[in-house]
């Protein structure tokens, strides 16, 4: 290991970096702003996805049997449910139980004593493994003999599926925009520092430094800009997360933010990856333009 070589290289990077400190701060600041937007957005997206899938996972399919369904038919249904890979569990709810649940739910809202006889059919309560398969499973169950009707809150499911898919698609587009913007900003900053060092670059080229060697300090600079921008952004996001999320959860309880367990450590890793990659690619392009001309 040639420590002198490493020291020289790191010295060059550090000198570059400190010489244009103002410019570096601008770059770091802009990266931070971009990453904050991206981070907020990714967090919101993860929350929405989580809330949606959480709501979906609570969805059960109610399969109502025909009033004249025989015991044999009910048993056949049970085996059909057990055989279906998509079905997680099934509970049989006899109509007496169903009535009791209904009374419970309607307590204080209507006078349930008017129900002198039980209008409910027997039903099965089905839980599905993958929420997105609910409509398909429901459609399949409807065709089984002895089934009167199937109900799973069709409207709600359709809406949730739509929200999830829109969030996903809008997410990909917006993330792309953010990354391109951050890239352009870093690229411009590096170009300014490349311009400030054009004398050194021309001398390096004159004495036979390879383009890769000339590039390397600038790439490191881009990497540092990107990484420091992310550090700043993550610090701000962490503070915001700690102070804002409990307040939002309190103000908008229906949002169930507390239920939205977003994986923040993997989110931070993603942001670092984006920041570093953008820094490297942007500075590569910035120096490349200079080396060619």
């Amino acid at each position: 290991m040639d420590w002198g070589k490493i020291r020289f290289f790191l010295g060059e990077v550090l000198r570059n970096f400190t010489r244009n400190a103002g410019m570096q701060l601008t770059a770091i600041g802009t990266v931070a702003v971009t990453i904050i937007l991206l981070g907020t957005f990714l967090y919101a997206r993860a929350s929405v996805a989580h809330i949606a899938s959480d709501a979906m996972s609570k969805i059960t399919i109610s399969v109502y049997t025909t009033p004249d369904a025989t015991k044999a038919q009910e048993d056949a249904l049970r085996t059909a449910f057990a055989k279906d890979e998509r079905i997680l569990s099934s509970d049989f709810v006899p109509k007496s139980e169903g009535l009791r649940e209904l009374r419970e739910r309607m307590k204080g809202q209507i006078d349930t004593s008017i129900l002198t006889e039980n209008p409910l059919p027997d039903k099965f309560r089905i839980k599905v493994r993958n929420p997105e398969e609910v409509p398909a499973v429901a459609a399949a169950l409807r065709k089984l003999p002895g089934v009167e009707s199937v109900d799973y809150g069709q409207d709600v499911v359709a809406r949730l599926l739509q929200i999830a898919s829109v969030a996903r698609r809008a997410g990909i587009a917006l993330i792309g925009v953010f990354i391109v913007v951050a890239g352009i900003i870093i690229s411009n900053t590096i170009r300014l520092t490349v311009f400030a060092r054009r004398r050194e670059i021309s001398i390096m080229q004159l004495v036979g430094a390879t383009n890769m060697y000339i590039r390397l300090p600038f790439i490191c600079e881009g990497l540092i800009d990107g990484a420091l921008g992310v550090v700043l952004a993550v610090a701000i996001l962490a503070i915001a997360h700690a102070t804002l999320v409990p307040k939002i959860a309190l103000a908008l309880p229906w949002l169930q933010l507390s239920a939205a367990q977003v994986d923040t450590s993997s989110l931070v890793l993603q942001l670092f990856g984006v920041g570093a990659a953008v820094g490297v690619v942007a500075s590569w392009i910035a120096v490349g333009r200079y080396l060619r001309t």
């Binding site: 070589k5 020289f8 000198r15 021309s202 080229q205 004159l206 036979g208």
Partner: protein, 236 residues
């Protein structure tokens, strides 16, 4: 060591900077390229270190076909050459030692080679005692010595000098030329582009005269104006 055959250089604006140059420079030669400003001296040197690309013709430098050299091989060519300029091209925020070392360090040289070569070159140009000073603290002659030390630190077989004394007073010019003479004695091939008549006439080396992009005279132990005619010397 250096060979040009039918080399022409036409700029994009149509100006013909060099026109069918044939030139052979042997190992250990000391050659002056003379001529007025704009006759193609600098262009010729730039072709040798592949700063420019010839429009036609063959160029061979130290066994490397420069006109066919791929872009990623240019650094290898440059390590075989030292180049010195009128404006020294030193880095003002680095000391003399750092400037010289820089040329080795950016080619990925080992630290122990840097520690060995840099003092040797500074000693050769007589700047050992000022190695910790910055270019701004040095005289023009000393700056040019530092630049020569940097050009030599890679142990090049060829040293190209583009108006090396253009910014220097006559006494300093003499010192620098004597230094180049000493370097040449050690076996380094030297090509000096200059329009300094006194320098050329005192050194009495091979003189290649360019005019309008062509070689008009090529004389061993020549004078600046030889080959132009007596009356032109008297009137010029």
């Amino acid at each position: 060591m250096i060979s040009l055959r039918g080399v022409s250089l036409v700029y994009p604006n149509g100006v013909r900077a060099l026109d069918g140059i044939d030139l052979e420079i042997g190992k250990g030669d000391f050659v002056f390229l003379v001529g007025h400003s704009g006759t193609g001296k600098s262009s010729l040197l730039r072709l040798l270190y592949r700063e420019m690309f010839p429009s036609s013709g063959d160029i061979t430098v130290d066994g490397i076909r420069v006109d066919r050299l791929k872009r990623n091989r240019v650094p290898m060519l440059r390590r075989h050459l030292g180049v010195v300029f009128q404006d020294f091209k030193l880095l003002t925020d680095k000391t003399v030692w750092e400037n010289v070392a820089f040329a080795l360090q950016v080619t990925g040289a080992h630290t122990k080679d840097v520690r060995r070569q840099v003092p040797r070159c500074l000693d050769l140009v007589g700047l050992s005692h000022k190695s910790r000073m910055y270019p701004g603290e040095l005289s023009g002659g000393e700056q040019q010595r530092a630049a020569i030390a940097r050009a030599l630190v890679n142990n090049p077989k060829i040293l190209l000098c583009d108006e090396p004394t253009g910014n220097l007073d006559p006494a300093t010019t003499t010192e620098i030329m004597e230094l180049l003479g000493r370097i040449n004695l050690k076996g380094t091939t030297i090509v000096v582009a200059t329009h300094n008549q006194a320098v050329v006439d005192r050194m009495r080396r091979r003189v290649v005269r360019l005019e309008n992009g062509r070689v008009v005279t090529d004389e061993e132990r020549g004078y600046y104006f030889l080959g132009l005619g007596q009356d032109q010397i008297l009137s010029g």
